[in-house]
């Protein structure tokens, strides 16, 4: 079937080209510019989906993406609005909520069982017949049959973009009011962004005639478009403004792009939403809003039906009838509930030979076999006399509600008169302006004028125009609407999404729910994809009638963002995961390192080559113990402290004495917080009287730096503190042959044992690179930590390699330091760890009157320790499955846990650190450990360090 109209109709399609897609496997031809729904309609396919609860056939209602009837699936993309999505060659479109085929859906049987499914039935059913019936029987059935689209577990990759824009004025809606507002403000010098969800500017001017003479609207459309093009406005079409947040922060969705816009001023020209009519079988395919019929004809050149009945609940019904007549659609009758001609258009229709039935209303629509399409309507007059008219199209002009959603997001209130025909939005916040049909206007002249006023007010708010006392927009006559009446046989839908009938709302009230918000939650009215656009007003009217209250007293449920559906991809953080590389990253990769993330940094775990990791780690440990290895420690935190108070500051921040630390010496640093818990550790190298270079752990440097900046400000000290972690690379050269390697390289530093003692620091040149060298110990072997500007690091690394050093990784480093009994902050410490618990009382200066955490440390010492970190070994193998986090028990209760653990190739046994009860933590005692296999064993406690207790190896 070909439902295309001739030339002169179809402003959005290109008749010179064609394409094809499939719908439920059936081929469908389309023109470029067609939406899926318009192409299907042109091909005579009017059923698009099955409804949520009763599986009733549904078709075009709004042609504006404002209803759920047109939701379809395209490949792995679920819940696509067919009346908005452009058709494309090769698309595979399938309907939703169908069991079997769309026309012979097996779920349609539910429609006959409606009496057993009253409102809220799910609160009272599915609890039997047995105790577990819900979980074992009903829930699987409901889960399989519920939901709309199908989510693919292997979706195709999509690219979502996010950007942020700023403007002086954002205008939402490019109908006549929005265009007028944007043009006016742009002419005054404002930087304007105009957002329109349709693919072209003009709003209702693109499909509605506004008057008997359609040429006026066409002229106005052309005029406004020309002015907009000349005004330098930034136009975003196919873009939906999905909410309004504080200070005019607006999310605009344009395809797979999220545009966040901050606007100084905002004009809401969001139009109005046409309302459906409530009568029996008002959901049949072939029943559509007047604006839907006009969009089909004017935008897509599709004949909406062969023989139409038009319900003229307001003036737009007459105008739609004129359009249908112009398109050659036979009109059986125009049905007007009013007995008088209030619109002055009756004669125009009669002169064309059309029939106008006054004082009548639609009471029922009848469908063809299977209810797949409308075939006739029943009309009753005020006396109750019924007339049946054959038709395949019922066009409904049921009145409007303003596009109030964004205004309510902004904090405004929506009120109406008692008949629900005249609305007002009040309480608009500053810098937000309303225009056009959203402000309750319908006359084209008034709509345009209101847009110009809104644009002027916005420009005045920007200081581009003087503030003016502008006249209020002309309040033209609003459209009338007829109250809904229940049909004794039901199927008179209030909410198409949720399949809720008038009696469902009435029964909810009878069940005891009087307030609109409770009725909404009990019945789910307004909670479907349409979000109450077509149900809110009708529901409020029913509630008012049944509870003997005015509409004003009942109110209308509020609106919150989002305005329309949002893909999760638009909301998700789609940025690549942040990573940081040291200057030696490429070198490690070239050497075959196994890299691993440590926070945002990537570090080499080991350099296995083709060997198993465990073999590589053992080899690297042996390398350090017997020869010389080098480890990239560039991720260590590094802080420059400079200024006359640098030494005094360090004395206050850290626990050890730094004020009299000699220049050229390195000292261990332990930082506590105000609670006396360990914050971080590192070393401080004094380069000059007023210059310290301080290291910190990779994970805590940001926290430590923030704490230092706070304390510096509180203490009012003259010290410049800079986080130079990324500016400096660092290489730890360690092993009995470390000194020889350094002495092979040209440089200005004396690396002899006499010239460079343990805990000395030297600055100079090494292999042509400027370095700060510190002789410290972490592995227990002779060690030098070489810090240098990061751009020089690859050159120095290469020089060290050429001089005989080999790389080792983090895994070996962890075991080496464990053998030496050194703690790792954050692994062997937690938020409560005190120096006493770690036997680090030696790091607390007794002479300093103050350091951060001193008072708390002393107070906590007086309270006594509940736990103690100690070293332990396993007497044999590790059959018990002991590992890090294994519990330490005392009298059968957990008292601590294992913090570090592993097999030491140097010592040939399993070693570890653990928190235990203080009385158990003494060398010579035993602690009870529970392995991951739930086996408990006793482990001897030994003195630390496990390796080289006399420090002879690291101080050679």
């Amino acid at each position: 079937m070909n439902n295309r109209l001739g030339n002169g109709w179809g402003s959005r399609i290109d008749r010179n080209a064609s394409m094809a897609f499939t719908f439920e496997g059936r081929p469908v031809t389309a023109h470029p510019g067609d939406t899926i729904a318009s192409a299907l309609a042109a091909n005579g396919e009017w059923v698009l989906s099955r409804s949520f609860k009763y599986h009733r056939p549904r078709g075009v209602l709004t042609m504006a993406g404002q209803d759920a009837n047109t939701l379809v699936q395209i490949g792995d993309e679920a819940n696509v609005r067919a009346d908005l999505r452009e058709a494309a060659q090769g698309m595979a479109v399938t309907p939703l909520n169908v069991s079997g085929s769309l026309r012979r859906d097996r779920g349609r049987i539910i429609d006959r069982l409606g009496r057993f499914l009253p409102v809220g039935f799910y609160y009272r059913t599915f609890f039997g017949p047995g105790k577990n019936s819900w979980l074992k029987l009903w829930e699987p059935i409901i889960r399989a049959s519920a939901g709309l689209g199908t989510v693919s577990l292997t979706p195709a990759r999509r690219h979502y973009a996010k950007e942020t824009r700023h403007c002086d004025l954002l205008v939402v809606g490019a109908g006549p009011a929005g265009l007028a507002a944007a043009i006016t403000a742009a002419k005054a010098g404002a930087d304007v962004i105009l957002v329109e969800k349709e693919p072209e500017l003009g709003g209702a001017l693109t499909y509605a005639r506004f008057d008997a003479n359609a040429a006026d609207a066409a002229c106005k459309l052309a005029e406004l478009r020309d002015k907009a093009a000349a005004a330098g406005i930034t136009v975003l079409t196919g873009a939906t403004c999905n909410g309004r947040f504080a200070d005019n922060w607006m999310p605009v969705l344009q395809g797979d792009r999220l545009i966040r816009i901050r606007a100084a001023e905002l004009v809401l020209a969001t139009g109005a939403h046409e309302q459906p009519l409530i009568f029996r079988n008002n959901d049949l395919p072939g029943v559509m809003l007047s604006s839907a019929a006009q969009r089909l004809m004017r935008h897509y050149g599709v004949r909406p039906g062969q023989r139409a009945v038009v319900y003229a609940g307001d003036r737009d019904g007459y105008l739609a009838a004129l359009d249908l007549d112009d398109a050659g659609v036979r009109i059986a009758a125009v049905v007007d509930p009013e007995t008088e001609d209030r619109d002055g258009l009756s004669d125009v229709l009669i002169q064309r030979g059309l029939t106008v039935m006054r004082g009548c209303r639609i009471t029922e629509a009848q469908g063809n076999r299977g209810g797949l399409h409308l075939k006739s309507v029943e009309i009753r007059d005020d006396n109750g006399t019924a007339t049946s008219l054959d038709c395949d199209l019922l066009v409904v002009a049921g009145g409007y509600t303003p596009g109030y959603q964004l205004a309510l997001h902004a904090g405004a209130r929506l009120t109406s008169d008692d008949s629900g025909t005249r609305f007002s939005i009040t309480g608009m916040p500053p810098h937000v302006h309303l225009a056009g049909a959203a402000a309750g206007l319908s006359d084209l002249g008034a709509v345009v004028a209101s847009g110009e006023i809104a644009g002027t007010r916005a420009a005045a708010g920007l200081g581009l125009l003087p503030a003016q006392d502008l006249p209020a927009p002309v309040q033209a006559r609003w459209r009338r609407a007829v109250p809904s009446q229940a049909h004794p046989k039901g199927r008179d839908f209030v909410d198409f999404d949720e399949d809720l009938q008038v009696k469902d709302i009435e029964n909810a009230i009878a069940d005891g729910y009087r307030e609109l918000e409770l009725i909404k939650r009990y019945s789910t009215v307004g909670m479907g994809p349409s979000q109450g656009r077509h149900a809110a007003l009708a529901t409020a009217r029913i509630v008012a009638r049944k509870t003997a209250r005015s509409l004003a007293e009942v109110g209308i449920t509020t609106s919150r963002p989002p305005f329309g559906p949002e893909k999760l991809g638009l909301l998700a953080d789609t940025t690549p995961e942040r990573y940081r590389h040291t200057a030696l990253h490429a070198v490690h990769q070239a050497a075959g390192a196994r890299m691993s993330p440590v926070g945002a940094w990537w570090r080499p775990l080991a350099y296995p080559g083709t060997a198993p990791m465990s073999d590589a780690i053992r080899r690297e440990i042996r390398l350090v113990r017997e020869a010389v290895g080098m480890l990239d420690v560039s991720t260590l935190g590094k802080l420059e402290l400079r200024g006359k108070d640098a030494a005094t500051f360090l004395d206050r921040i850290y626990t050890m004495a730094h004020a009299r630390q000699p220049v050229g010496r390195v000292r261990y640093c332990l930082a506590l917080n105000e609670m006396g818990s360990i914050l971080d550790d590192g070393v401080a190298y004094r380069l000059a009287e007023d210059h310290f270079y301080v290291t910190a752990t990779t994970g805590a440097v940001e926290r430590l730096y923030a704490e230092m900046m706070l304390q510096k400000t509180l203490w009012g000290m003259e010290v410049d503190i800079q986080n130079v972690t990324a500016a400096f690379a660092a290489i730890n050269l360690t092993g009995p042959h470390a000194r020889e390697v350094l002495q092979r390289l040209p440089g200005s530093i004396d690396f002899t044992r006499e010239g460079f003692a343990y805990l000395d620091g030297r600055s100079g040149e090494l292999a042509g690179c400027p370095v700060r060298a510190m002789r410290i110990g972490f592995t227990g072997e002779l060690s030098y930590e070489l810090h240098l500007p990061q751009s020089h690091a690859p050159a120095l690394w290469a020089a060290l390699a050429q001089a005989g050093a080999e790389p080792y990784g983090l895994e070996a480093s962890r075991m080496l330091r464990l053998e030496k009994g050194h703690i790792i902050i954050g692994q062997d410490t937690d938020a409560l760890s005190t120096p006493d618990e770690l036997d680090m009382g030696w790091a607390l200066s007794r002479k300093k009157p103050f350091h951060v955490g001193k008072a708390a440390t002393e107070q906590r010492r007086a309270m006594g320790r509940k736990r103690q970190l100690c070293g332990f070994v396993l007497p044999g193998g590790n059959d018990a499955g002991i590992g890090e986090s294994s519990l330490v028990l005392s009298n059968g209760q957990p008292i601590g846990h294992v913090t570090s653990f592993g097999h030491s190739p140097t010592l040939g046994k399993w070693i570890g650190l653990a928190y235990a009860a203080p009385e158990d933590a003494k060398p010579g005692s035993q602690i009870r450990l529970r392995g991951f296999s739930a086996t408990e064993i006793k482990a001897p406690v030994v003195a630390l360090p496990f390796y080289d207790a006399d420090n002879t190896r690291q101080e050679i």
């Binding site: 590389h581 200024g643 040209p746 050429q802």
Partner: protein, 203 residues
């Protein structure tokens, strides 16, 4: 002792971006890594006085830049600047400034190590105005972020300093940020600005 080659400096994007022979003269959209080019960061007491004593025109207010003798001086604080060499000019003045600073013994501010700690990218081309909203949330319209404006903000999902430079009359913005995130930044820009060609310059 083994003879060693003269050490060269290395930058994170060396292995990734093609080396250009000179500053491009066309107006294609580009991201250039300028990290190896000379720059000097100073901070702390004495900074502004020392620069004034050297005859360097310090921008009067914070968050402005000033150009002189092949340098662009960005004022980041009352006593903090970063000085970028102009890729289109001779870097001798900046080199002499660095040498003079090293030789000064009195108050002169502290070396902020900006020649090491920051990656320096330049985005240029006619698509800059459409590109910037994808990189940062600040207002990048010309009236808010015009020539000579310096912004310390978030861009590329990290802390960054942005300055509008418009070199050679071509719209351009320089971005300075954590050098360890150079690879991440290049990945991000390649993802959101696929039409931008990438390259690097050395001195």
């Amino acid at each position: 002792m083994t003879a060693l080659a003269a050490p060269a400096r290395s930058w994170p994007l060396d292995h990734r971006l093609p080396l250009l022979k000179g500053w491009p003269t066309d107006d294609r959209n580009r991201m250039l890594d300028l990290s190896p080019l000379p720059r000097l960061g100073l901070r702390g007491p004495g900074t502004s006085a020392w620069l004034a004593g050297q005859g360097c025109p310090l921008p009067e207010t914070i968050h402005r830049s000033a150009g002189t003798e092949g340098m662009t001086i960005l004022r980041l604080g009352a006593e903090e600047v970063v000085i970028l060499s102009d890729p289109l000019a001779d870097p001798d003045r900046l080199t002499r400034l660095q040498q003079d600073w090293q030789a000064t013994t009195g108050p002169k501010g502290f070396d902020a190590y900006r020649d090491e700690g920051w990656c320096w990218l330049c985005l240029s081309g006619p698509a800059i105005s459409d590109a910037l909203p994808l990189l940062t949330a600040i207002d990048t319209r010309p009236n808010a972020f015009g020539l000579g404006t310096v912004v310390q903000t978030r861009a590329l999902h990290m802390d960054a300093v942005l300055v509008r430079t418009d070199r050679g009359g071509v719209p351009s913005v320089d971005i300075l940020f954590d050098v360890a995130s150079s690879g991440f930044a290049a990945d991000f820009i390649a993802d959101v600005l696929p039409g931008f060609e990438m390259g690097r310059l050395v001195r």
